[in-house]
Structure formats: structure tokens, C-alpha cells
């Protein structure tokens, strides 16, 4: 067997930060746009939100496939069991949510009868038929999942900072863009 890798692959790192950046862009966009009264700007922002969200979905699927086929670097041996279990649980939940949140948005848009045309070019199929009451339920689902996602992202960031500034281990470093000689 090969020695365990010391850090994440470049692909894993790129996908991690790309997805993170897009989520940080589209959450405030989502919150801002729902408060606007109907206007061309609102329609434009809804479309941008949906395009970014679908991009997150596509990248997340890629991420999960990459993760399933590439061993991540092991956690430090000294890490207590509860932290190991906790981080594993949060990571699994985050993977689920970065798919579930955009899928709930897509479902909602289908139910509301406003299909998504990705970047104005690629029409996506409707996942469910138009149905007003289902649309309202899914709006709540999209919001609820977002709240769970944001809570876990907050915990995730707090843990990363704790490792960097309190434990002073290399947990955060190994997900940062590479020093030379990193993994492909």
C-alpha cells in the first residue's frame, strides 16, 4: 500500500474553495432578492441566483465523485475520538446539503412554473409539474435547508480556525492552495 497522502489533491482544493465562494455569493444574493418588490432587477437577480446555485450543484456532484475516488489525508493521530466523529458527521452533512440545497431550489422553481435556463443557454428539465401549494412547501424546504447549511458552515469554519489558531496543527493548511510539490 502507498503511504497516506499528506494533503488534499489540487482538484479537491480547487473544488472546495470554488463551491465555498459560490455559496458565499449566492446566500446573500438569495436573502437580498426575496425582499425586493417585483422589478426587472428582481427577475435578473433570481436568474443569477439560480444559475449560481445550479453551478454549485454541478461542482458538488463532481466534488463528491472526486472524494469517493481519492483518499483524503488522514487526521492527526492525537485527535480525540469525539472530534474525529464530529468532523466526519459534519462533513457528510455538508456533502448532503451542498446537493440538497440547490436541488430543493430547482424543485421549487419547477413547482412554481419558472423553469431554469442555466446561464440563459441550457434549459433544465422541470423536476416536478407546476403546483402552487407544492411550490410554497418547497420554498420553506429551501429556506430550512439553507439555515441548516449555514449553521454547519459556521461550525465548519469555527473548527478550521480552532485547528489553525488554537491547536496549531495543519488541518486548515492542507486545504489551502498548495505549496510547490503538492498532489495533482
Amino acid at each position: 500500500m502507498n503511504a497516506p497522502p499528506a494533503c488534499y489533491t489540487r482538484t479537491a482544493i480547487a473544488l472546495h474553495w470554488l463551491v465555498a465562494a459560490l455559496i458565499f455569493a449566492t446566500v446573500p444574493l438569495g436573502v437580498y432578492m426575496v425582499g425586493l418588490s417585483l422589478s426587472p432587477i428582481k427577475l435578473r437577480l433570481y436568474s443569477y441566483h439560480k444559475w449560481i446555485g445550479i453551478t454549485v450543484l454541478a461542482l458538488s456532484v463532481l466534488r463528491i465523485l472526486w472524494r469517493a475516488t481519492h483518499t483524503p489525508p488522514p487526521l492527526p493521530a492525537a485527535l480525540p475520538h469525539w472530534q474525529r466523529a464530529g468532523s466526519h458527521a459534519v462533513h457528510v452533512a455538508l456533502y448532503v446539503l451542498i446537493v440538497a440545497v440547490p436541488v430543493s431550489g430547482w424543485l421549487m422553481s419547477s413547482a412554481k412554473g419558472v423553469p431554469t435556463v442555466w446561464f440563459g443557454v441550457l434549459p433544465l428539465p422541470d423536476l416536478v409539474a407546476k403546483d402552487k401549494s407544492l411550490g410554497e412547501i418547497l420554498t420553506g424546504v429551501h429556506q430550512g435547508l439553507n439555515i441548516v447549511l449555514l449553521s454547519l458552515v459556521a461550525a465548519h469554519i469555527a473548527a478550521a480556525l480552532k485547528h489553525r489558531y488554537i491547536d496549531r496543527d495543519d488541518i486548515l493548511e492542507r486545504m489551502l492552495p498548495h505549496r510547490p510539490g503538492g498532489r495533482a
Binding site: 426587472p40 432587477i41 427577475l43 436568474s47 412554481k112 419558472v114 435556463v117 440563459g120
Partner: protein, 188 residues
Amino acid sequence: MSRLLALLLALLAGVSAQAAEIGQVQADKSRLSFAYTQMGVPMEGTFRRFSAKMSFDPARVPSARASIEVDVAGIDTGSAEADQEVKGKLWFDAATHPTAHFVSTAVKALGGNRFEARGKLTLKGRTLDTAAPFTFTPTPQGGAFDGAFTLKRLDYAIGEGMWADVSAVANEVLIRFHIVAGSAPAKK
């Protein structure tokens, strides 16, 4: 030759007999819808309340008449927020112009079961010449008219001010109609 003529006459007589009762429009079976794109996304809606008077005989097309009146406040865009917005001043201004109407000025045959109605379309108090091709499908009680035409909403000042931005909501709107006319079947 004379047999062919007899056959033609019989056919025409048959068709005009079928068409004779047309006039009564069955609102519950008829449909008036519109399609447009919003940020490149195809959208559709309907006008829930409209009435139509049709007088049509495929054997005497030039004397055909159609008039359609639409209660614009009956618009259904698929979202309550948008319904409210489009009844407002910038769009249909339903308070000042509660009805839209089309009145035919000429109908001509295009061959087969295809026809074309020309007429005046009035939207938001503005009247323009319009032409709509349609097909006619006879039914035992009358017939169904199916057609569509594209209008430019800005020609009628539908969507003024900020909404004149056609990159958000397209200028072209496809109007589709399915009008079932003729006395309803006896049992009802």
C-alpha cells in the same frame, strides 16, 4: 364531371350545415393564453375571463365575423405577485382599461382548414391592425378555432418605465387561442 360537382355540393352543404349554429361560445372549453420569455425562460399564462362572438361558415368565409372581449383583470401569470403587478399602471392599467378587444375586419381562407382573421386589436386603449392565422375544426355542434399570433407588448405600452427593458421580459408575446363555439351538447 357532374358527379364530382354533386359531390362537392354535398360536401359544402354538409360543412355549412355543421357550421350553421356557430355563434354560441363555450367559455369553459375555450382558452386564451400568452407565452413570452423572461430572462430567456419560457413562461406562460392565461386570461381566465373573456367572451367571444363568432359567426363563421367555412363555405362563406368572407362574411365571417369574430369579436373577442377580454377582462384583463382575469389574468393569471402563475404568481400572485406578478398578477398584481401586471394589473397596475405600468402594465395593463386594468383600472383605466378594464377590457381588451379584438374585432375582425376581414377573414380569408388560406387553403385546407386554415384561415386568417384580420382585425383591430385594442389593448390598454391603443388600437392596432393585427392578423391571426387559425384553423377551424368542425364538431357536431359547431367548431373549434385554434390559432396564434405574436404581438409586441411595447406597441401597446404594456410594460412601461422600468419594464420597457426587454432583456428582462421579452417584447414578443405569443397569443394563443382555442375557442370552442356552437351549442353545447344536450345533456348538461
